[in-house]
Symmetry: C2
Subunit: 298 residues, 2 copies
């Protein structure tokens, strides 16, 4: 097992245990709703977003225990966005991480509600934690950034632009606009909230922000490349769907070789942004390499 | 114009102005998404929920300026819930407040996203406000209560139970379970968050909690009665829909005369809960009378 595999596996276990505790199977909850939430949330995902928050905190020498609630909230927001994006009125996907999507398994109405519940409970978790925190201001700044990244100028705005662009010509400016918001904003918020909560100073925050921006874009290009090359197993989704629906993707806008080159370039920029960081930033470095290299090779 | 009409009209104007400022028409936002949000949010609603928060704050002698952000967030959460409840996979309603519902006007995908945006931005608004507040703890307690009321044990849990009950027999216990969560929890959170932010002591909070519980249930019975009696104009929805879909309602569970009597009884209990409150609680008293009497008479 590589150094990164070992790190990811340890952090994933922490996150999974914390997430399972957020939605216990409990007679007070209407049963099917909680089942749908747990089906979507506790599905063996990679937990990239919460792990980025934890790793960013470590990179600045912070205590990751203080980041765990925000890390869980970030994964819950991600999980809600997947449920809603998969709905028939959106991307109409039947398969996610190799399993039927939530609306296929539980029906559309309950899938919409499960997404709503994950989003709402993410903020409930943060509010309860902040209300108990001895000095809540640092956390509140992180919460505001997370909410902005998830909101109308961030993830939801990106998904709306994606819906609007479907079927049209995919020029590079449109693709970058969509992806910076649809996936980039939340990934950046993961890194920055981990940094905030770890007590990053202004200089460290600048480096981690640059890292997060490059990583977010690289991640999306890699995902587009995997889809275009038909790697259903690697993505857990039905491959080739983007092209079939004329989705705005980097390979469609740039061609596959240029898209791959751009992903490698962004990986290098992400690594350069961490140049002055100590060995505690190695997990972030490993993640940047992994995200790109699983799709485009070294 | 009655005393209550005058009060509601003044408070509605404050709330409407604050809400319009949350979603400006701005080139940074993807245009259609903001249009869909504004269509749903700025539609001449009664603003009962934010006004309850403001009135509860006044009832304990607090400064309502400090409640306005929470009041806006409460209305945004309400607006999101209406958009999602109206979707074809949920209640499948075509008309709301006398106009086409959001998915009819903007399509289903954008309606789902507009709801998501309203919910997310409600918490963004609260987080930004709390991050700037000199002593954020009181606000954080209110935010946690609002999130819980909107979440899986509150509003969303109620809607899930409502979906599950549709078509089955409507016994009173089921109807009360659904309505206490689906509409009651958020109405109670409006009253309690206004009270918290107004600086209510434990005794005042107890009285206002009792008021909010009774008002929430009375409001739902009144709404059910209006639907059963076919008052499309008063509700702005297509009347008789509940019965046609065998929805779990109070008139279906109790019969119409007993449902009306229960609404009047709850109004009286709400008024009794405010017995020790000064004249500053008159708007809350007037609201309890109005909510019941518009549906069942005095």
């Amino acid at each position: 097992m590589s150094r990164l595999d070992d790190y990811l596996s340890r952090q994933r276990q922490r996150v999974d245990a914390a997430l399972a505790a957020v939605f216990p199977l409990d007679p007070e909850h209407p049963h099917r709703l909680v089942e749908a939430v747990r089906y979507s949330l506790l599905d063996g995902g990679k937990r990239l977003r919460p792990i980025l928050a934890l790793a960013a905190c470590e990179a600045v020498g912070g205590d990751t225990e203080a980041v765990l609630p925000a890390a869980c909230a970030l994964e819950m927001i991600h999980a809600y966005s997947l449920i809603h994006d998969d709905l028939p009125a959106m991307d109409d996907d039947a398969l996610r991480r190799g399993r039927p999507t939530t609306h296929i398994a539980f029906g559309e109405g309950l899938a919409i509600l499960a997404g709503d519940a994950l989003l709402t409970e993410a903020f409930a978790l943060l509010a309860h934690y902040a209300a108990r925190a001895p000095r809540p201001r640092r956390l509140l700044r992180a919460v505001a950034e997370i909410a902005d990244a998830a909101g109308a100028r961030g993830m939801i705005g990106g998904q709306a632009a994606d819906l609007a662009a479907e079927g049209g010509p995919a020029d590079l400016a449109t693709v970058e606009f969509i992806h910076a918001r649809k996936t980039g904003a939340l990934l950046l918020a993961c890194v920055r909230s981990g940094a905030h909560l770890g007590g990053a100073d202004a200089r460290a925050l600048r480096g981690l922000t640059r890292y997060g921006e490059c990583l977010g874009l690289a991640f999306q290009i890699a995902d587009d490349v995997l889809d275009a090359e038909g790697m259903t197993a690697a993505t857990g989704k039905v491959a080739g769907r983007d092209q079939a629906r004329h989705k705005a993707t980097f390979p469609a806008a740039l061609g596959l070789p240029a898209a791959k080159a751009r992903a490698r370039e962004l990986r290098d920029l992400a690594l350069a942004a961490l140049q002055r960081f100590p060995a505690a930033a190695d997990p972030l470095r490993d993640i940047a390499r992994f995200v790109v290299e699983r799709a485009v090779g070294a």
